[in-house]
Structures are given as structure tokens and as C-alpha cells.
Amino acid sequence: MSGPASTDPRMESVSGSVDIDKEATAVPAKKAGGEFLYFALRSRKFLFATAILLVLVGFAIFGPMIDTTDPMDTNGVQMSSPTMDAGNWFGTTILGEDVFAQFVNGLRATFFVGLLAGALAAFIGMAIGFTAGYKGGWVDEVLNMITNVVLVLPTLAVLIVISSYLKARGVLFEAVFVGLFSWPWVARAIRAQTFTLRSRDFIDLAKLSGRGTWKIIIQEIAPNMSSYLFMVFILLFGGAILFAASLDFIGLGPTGGMSLGLMMFNSVTYGAALTLGLWWWFIPPGLGIMAIVGALYVMNVGLDEIFNPKLRDI
């Protein structure tokens, strides 16, 4: 048994797989990590997605080191289309800023927002999901209510209202905001899985050993869902990036700094890139966002196949 079944909250498939093992008895098992690696390296989806992400991460890390131009520096030639000369790989904007520098710096900011927002949403979602699922009763009712309220809040409207009170919005603010609104589905899904797990005998056994509630959640329940939690984080990461980019694109992003969404916003709003045909300004960031989010979703599907023995063809 190398890990929990799948992202499907109905975990009946786990008990089903025990039957197979009974007939094919005594197969010497590798450690869980070894098996993961074996399948990971054979999953085309996983490898493809990881490759794309690694390329983009490479851009984000090394890009600004290679091209040290300040992305806001307007000293360059205006509106020049991309050429193979150094310093002009992606051309320049209407103000003469270097699009490549903007791109790689924007990548950094985008990844940062994704990570921070994703981590925050994951943490909140898990805390609420585990507590509601394990405790049940009125604790569950209250937490459910909170989850539902956050789920139906009109995030855009809230953001607009808050923005009108703030003079400036930083990247940190955006990350926290996105994180605070992305967690409801995580809480729901984790709650459902926790419900199934908590009625298992080994939880009863832990109780009979005198273990406290939180120790049981962290040490017994969460590790059984580790692959699912991993996938949750990947989805949150991708979702946060998409959400942030959308906010940037309609002008509600950070007031300073640079990100991919902001590039698109700038190019379309005051750069008139569409009418002027400055395709090199908005296509790279658009493709970049698409590539990151798309790769993350493909990776998620690949991971599901890796973790769930029933989805694999042997």
C-alpha cells in the first residue's frame, strides 16, 4: 500500500486494493519513496510538466542575473521588435523598457505570489479541514459555515473596497489576499477524506494508546493523505498564479513592481500594444502564465496516476 487512493474523497478504493495483495502475496515491498520515483520517471505527463516548470524556474532565477537591466528603465529604444542582439531578446515596450528584463523579473514575482498564496491557502484549508473532519459535531458546523461564507464572498468586490482604502498595494498584500480566498475547496476536500479516515481502526488504536487529538491528526491522518496534500499544494500554487494574474490584468494588482499579469495589463491598457502591433510585449507574459499553470495541472494529473495504483497500466 504505497499511498492513499486518489483525489476522489470517496476512499473505498483503498480497501479494495487489499484484495489484490492477498492473492499476489508476499511481494517484497520497496520503501514508499522508491516506488514513487520509479513511477515518476515513467510518467510522461509528469516528466513533461516538470521539464517546462524547470525551464521557467531557470528563467526566473538566472534571467535577471544574465540580463541585469532594470525592467523599469526607459532608456532603451522605444518599441523595437525583438532581435537576437543581447539586451533585446524580447524587444522593448512603448516606453523603451526591456521586455525580457520585465519578463524574467515578472516571473520571479509571479512565482513568489504563487508560493506564498498557495502556502497560506494550504495552511488555512488544512487546519480547517482536519479540525472539522476529525471533531465533527458543532465544531464542524461552525467551520463549515465559515467555509461557505468565504466561498461565496465576491472577492472582486471585496478587493475593490479594500483597495479604495489603501494608498498602495504591495506584492505581499496581493499574495495574502489571494491566499485568504483560495482555501475553501481545500477545506471541503480534506474534511471529507478525514471523515473516512477517522473511522478506521488505527485511529481507534491511537486513541486507546492515549494520544491527544492534534497528535492523532498530524501523525496518523495527515501522513496517510500526504500524496493528496502534495497535489493540493500544486493546484493551489497554479490557481494562485492564475488568480493573481487576473487581478493584475484588470488593474487591481500591486501598485509597484512587475509581474507577468502586470505586463499584460500595461501593454494593453496604456501601451496600446494591440493597436500598435507590439506583440512581443504581451505574448511572452501570456504564454508564460499559460505554461506555468498548464504545466502544473498536467503535473497534477500525472501525480494522480503515480500515486494511485489503479490508474496505472502495468
Binding site: M1, G3, S15, V18, D21, A26, P28, A29, A32, R200, D201, F202, D204, L205, A206, K207, L208, S209, G210, R211, E220, P223, N224, S226
Partner: protein, 322 residues
């Protein structure tokens, strides 16, 4: 030692919890030192619920359970840990009782963390070694392995070893045999018999009459949450009186007698399929729940043999004590 007194358990079911379901109704019995008591019932009889109430995994709705005279519902907080050092349980599915991603020994580690925090490692290892040997397992073969590398029988015995680490008085064994192979079943059963002779009190919950008959001194037969017959094992199986008990005994597939022969031996034909006036004539009175006569209806038809049968009581047949 362990005393279950008129214990009942109700659940709220239906939308908005309008209806009430009775899982256990007015059950009483005792488990003494060095004694195995079988709790026999089919699905829905409430036997697992009783086991879980004794293990304090479920709350008691009515009645009381006491260990050495102390009411267990009064135990809270740190008292619960102390309770678990006297009462432990082993469950039906050996593979589900272990957290699949950790090694099997972890169940011992949990006990160590909670009860023997300060103990020296070598002393702990000796203790574990002794416990594993006392369940007829070879420590070299079973320690340090993952659950899927061990067989069901070994896993169940390790769970018993775990319970023994705590020097318990009562062991609740809930259907621990049913998922084991025929050849290992008898070993685990013999282990329980061995523990009983060392003074442990065991509550053996099962649906299999042959197992209960093999190992227990006292038997309690449950049907739909109520006790229908209880007493010394030979008497309950030798002279099954309640229609439900008789139906059970005649349905168990035996290895040397065909069903038809068993029925012939039992004598009078069995009317209906376990129907009993007691259950049909006294439905739950109103929504408020349970009809409970002042004293539970338990007719002692011979020494240490009780039958929960309204028909017997109402007849007040000569020789029977109500």
C-alpha cells in the same frame, strides 16, 4: 471486575435527527478475572457498540459500566490514560489497525511515548521482546517490518502483545478471528485461552458460535440490542431455550452433522425465524424512547442460565423463577 449494568445506547437518525434508533437496549453482564465472556450476535445486534462503550470510544446513553466498582463515565482527562492501562482492545481487521505507511512496531512506540516516556531503550526492548514472545511470535521475524509484510495472524498477535505491555485487566477482542485463515485462527484462540489462565478477563465478541463455545466460560447472546439468553457456555449451548438461540445453533454449519440432523437433535421445530414476543409486543413507547420495565426480563431457567423471554415469564411455568 468489569460490570455492565443496564446499558443502553440510542442514536439520533433521520433528517434533523427526528427519529431515534436503539443500538443497545438494557444489557447487563459481568466479566471476572481469568474468565472469557463471549458476546455473540449477528450484524445489528449491538455487540460492537457494547465493546466500544467499554473502551470509552462511544458514550453510554443510559446505564453504567464500572471497572472494579468505579463508574467509567466519571473518568475524564488524565484518568482516561490510566483507564487504558487497565482496559485495551483488539479489532477485527488487522490490516486496518495499523497505519499503513509506518512500520508495524510503531504501535509499540505509541505506547512507549504515552506510558513509558522515561524508560531506557534497552529496558524497553526487553519488555517488547518478552511481550512478543508471550504471544508465541519470534521477535526477529516480526519486528521492524511493515504491516503488509506480515500475515493477518501475526498482526493480530502483535496487537495482543501491545495490549500486554500495559499489564491490563480486561481485553476486548472484537471479531479478532474472522479475518484470519483457518489454520491461524486456532492459534490466536489458544493464545487467548492461555492469557485467561494467567488472570486476564476477556470479552470475546463474535458472530461465530463455534468459536465462542470453544473458548468461553460465559456466553451472552444478543439480538437487535437486547440479551436473549445468557449464562454458562455449556448450558446455553447444551440447552438452548430462546427461539433465537435455537435458530442460531441450528444454522451454524457443522463439520460432522448436516443441518437437517442438527434440527432433529434440537427437538421441537423452531417456530418462525427468531421472532419473540418480547420484541414484538413491546415496541418503543412513544418518541421518548425505550420501554423499560423496572427490572429487566431475565428468567433464570436453571443455575447460571438466563433467558430473556417474555413468554417464559408470563407463563410463570412451574419450576421457573421470575
Amino acid at each position: 471486575m468489569l460490570s455492565v449494568n443496564r446499558v443502553s445506547k440510542f442514536y439520533r437518525v433521520g433528517t434533523f435527527g427526528g427519529k431515534e434508533m436503539t443500538a443497545v437496549r438494557d444489557v447487563s453482564f459481568d466479566v471476572d478475572t481469568g474468565e472469557v465472556v463471549s458476546l455473540i450476535g449477528e450484524s445489528g445486534s449491538g455487540k460492537t457498540t457494547i465493546g466500544k462503550m467499554i473502551l470509552k470510544l462511544i458514550d453510554i446513553s443510559q446505564g453504567s459500566i464500572s471497572l472494579d466498582g468505579a463508574d467509567i463515565s466519571a473518568i475524564r482527562g488524565s484518568g482516561i490514560k490510566s483507564y487504558y492501562s487497565h482496559v485495551q482492545g483488539v479489532f477485527q481487521d488487522p490490516f486496518s489497525s495499523y497505519n499503513p505507511i509506518f512500520k508495524a512496531d510503531r504501535v509499540f512506540g505509541l505506547i512507549r511515548n504515552e506510558y513509558f516516556a522515561g524508560i531506557a531503550t534497552s529496558e524497553w526492548n526487553d519488555k517488547v521482546d518478552a511481550a512478543v514472545r508471550s504471544v508465541a511470535l519470534d521477535p526477529g521475524q516480526v519486528l521492524n517490518k511493515y504491516p503488509h509484510q506480515l500475515s493477518g495472524g501475526q498482526l493480530q498477535r502483535l496487537l495482543v502483545a501491545r495490549a500486554l505491555l500495559l499489564d491490563i485487566k480486561i481485553l476486548v477482542a472484537d471479531e479478532i478471528i474472522s479475518m484470519l485463515d483457518a489454520s491461524t485462527r486456532i492459534d490466536v484462540l489458544n493464545l487467548l485461552a492461555d492469557l485467561k489462565s494467567r488472570g486476564l478477563g476477556i470479552l470475546f465478541i463474535t458472530h461465530d458460535l463455534s468459536l465462542g463455545n470453544y473458548i468461553s466460560e460465559k456466553t451472552v447472546i444478543l439480538r437487535r440490542g437486547s440479551v436473549v439468553e445468557m449464562g454458562a457456555t455449556e448450558k446455553v449451548f447444551g440447552n438452548p431455550t430462546h427461539p433465537y438461540t435455537r435458530m442460531l445453533v441450528s444454522s451454524v454449519p457443522q463439520l460432522h452433522k448436516k443441518w437437517a440432523d442438527v434440527e432433529a437433535d434440537l427437538g421441537a421445530p423452531i417456530a418462525g425465524r427468531g421472532g419473540c414476543l418480547f420484541h414484538e409486543a413491546f415496541p418503543l413507547a412513544g418518541r421518548a424512547g425505550l420501554y423499560l420495565p423496572d427490572d429487566p426480563i431475565m428468567v433464570e431457567i436453571e443455575d447460571d442460565h438466563f433467558v430473556g423471554c417474555f413468554e417464559l415469564e408470563s407463563e410463570k411455568a412451574p419450576g421457573l423463577v421470575a
